[in-house]
């Protein structure tokens, strides 16, 4: 493959990524607006909580289904998966990964908060099925981000992005800081547990969220600093 061909593929991939991002935003907005419309139309807030769970599940299935469809429609051509093209785009891919990592605290923190509130409700007012589901909410969200953070779900060429030397050193530093943050957090949870055990259980989802967020934010910040050094 010639240099010009590689540049052409890279430019086409960037256009494709922009189209995918715009489509995803449109899908997200439509799904959100649809959920709000149906919730208001059928007075969902006055119905028993089972209906809320069904509505949430339907919305999620719809969101993932349509997002998957968008990803399929805007999937890159086979030439995009050659080692040279991946290497050409590695800088940009890592930058967009770092940007995603900066959103970690927002999303995982929100999931942690939802779980913590559900545990509080369950412990104080009795456990409903929805509280159990909400209480575990942080686990799939944190797990999904853990896959993204470690690159375990990525293929052979994806490993090029994750195993690039500087990025790997950032990840190692992120994990070290995360380890110490988790240790400090566990100490705090243990102290809370000694005062009132229920507080410790309520604090655990937040600690799990922090455990995933700290390395992600560290990587993103180190990556930004490395860009500034230039």
């Amino acid at each position: 493959m010639s240099e010009t061909q590689e540049e052409g593929i890279t430019a086409a991939l960037e256009r494709r990524a922009l189209r995918a991002a715009l489509l995803s935003v449109a899908v997200g907005l439509t799904t959100g607006a649809g959920e709000i419309f149906f919730a208001l139309r059928f007075n969902l807030f006055t119905l028993p909580p089972q209906y809320e769970a069904v509505a949430m599940l339907t919305g999620l299935v719809l969101l993932f289904g349509v997002t998957g469809l968008v990803a399929w429609v805007t999937r890159p051509p086979p030439e995009a998966f050659s080692e040279r093209v991946v290497l050409r785009r590695i800088d940009r891919t890592q930058k967009s990964l770092s940007r995603t990592f900066l959103f970690f605290p927002l999303l995982v923190g929100l999931a942690g908060f939802v779980s913590s509130c559900a545990i509080f409700r369950g412990q104080n007012y009795g456990w409903r099925p929805l509280d159990v589901a909400d209480g575990l909410f942080v686990l799939p969200v944190g797990g999904a981000y853990l896959l993204l953070l470690t690159g375990w779900a990525s293929g052979k060429l994806g490993r090029l992005v994750y195993d690039e030397e500087l990025f790997r050193s950032f990840r190692t530093r992120g994990y070290i800081i995360s380890f110490w943050s988790l240790m400090a957090g566990l100490l705090l949870v243990l102290t809370l547990g000694l005062v009132r055990p229920t507080w410790a259980v309520e604090a655990l989802p937040l600690l799990i969220a922090a455990g995933v967020c700290v390395p992600a934010v560290t990587i993103a910040l180190l990556n930004r600093r490395a860009e500034r050094d230039g």
């Binding site: 040279r84 290497l87 050409r88 590695i90 800088d91 890592q94 090029l160 690039e164 030397e165 500087l166 990025f167 050193s169 990556n223 490395a226 860009e227 050094d229 230039g230």
Partner: protein, 70 residues
């Protein structure tokens, strides 16, 4: 990551070879940022990367990196 004892001559040798950071990065299989941070002494590369850089520039590792005298 940085070490004051390390002297890096990557930038000089790369410019002599007429390569940009991006071109060298593509030859070695790393990001331009990695080359940049190695040149600035912010990041110390592994032995494998040091050997890769030396091979790409057609020099020895000692020509690229050396320890500052005590």
């Amino acid at each position: 990551m940085a070490d004051r004892r390390l002297e890096v001559r990557l930038k000089t040798l790369r410019t002599q070879a007429g390569l940009t950071q991006a071109e060298l990065a593509l030859m070695v299989g790393v990001t331009r940022k990695t080359i940049n941070t190695v040149e600035n002494g912010v990041f110390i590369p592994s032995t494998v990367l040091a050997l890769g850089l030396a091979r790409a520039l057609g020099v020895t590792v000692e020509a690229l990196f050396s320890l500052a005298p005590d």
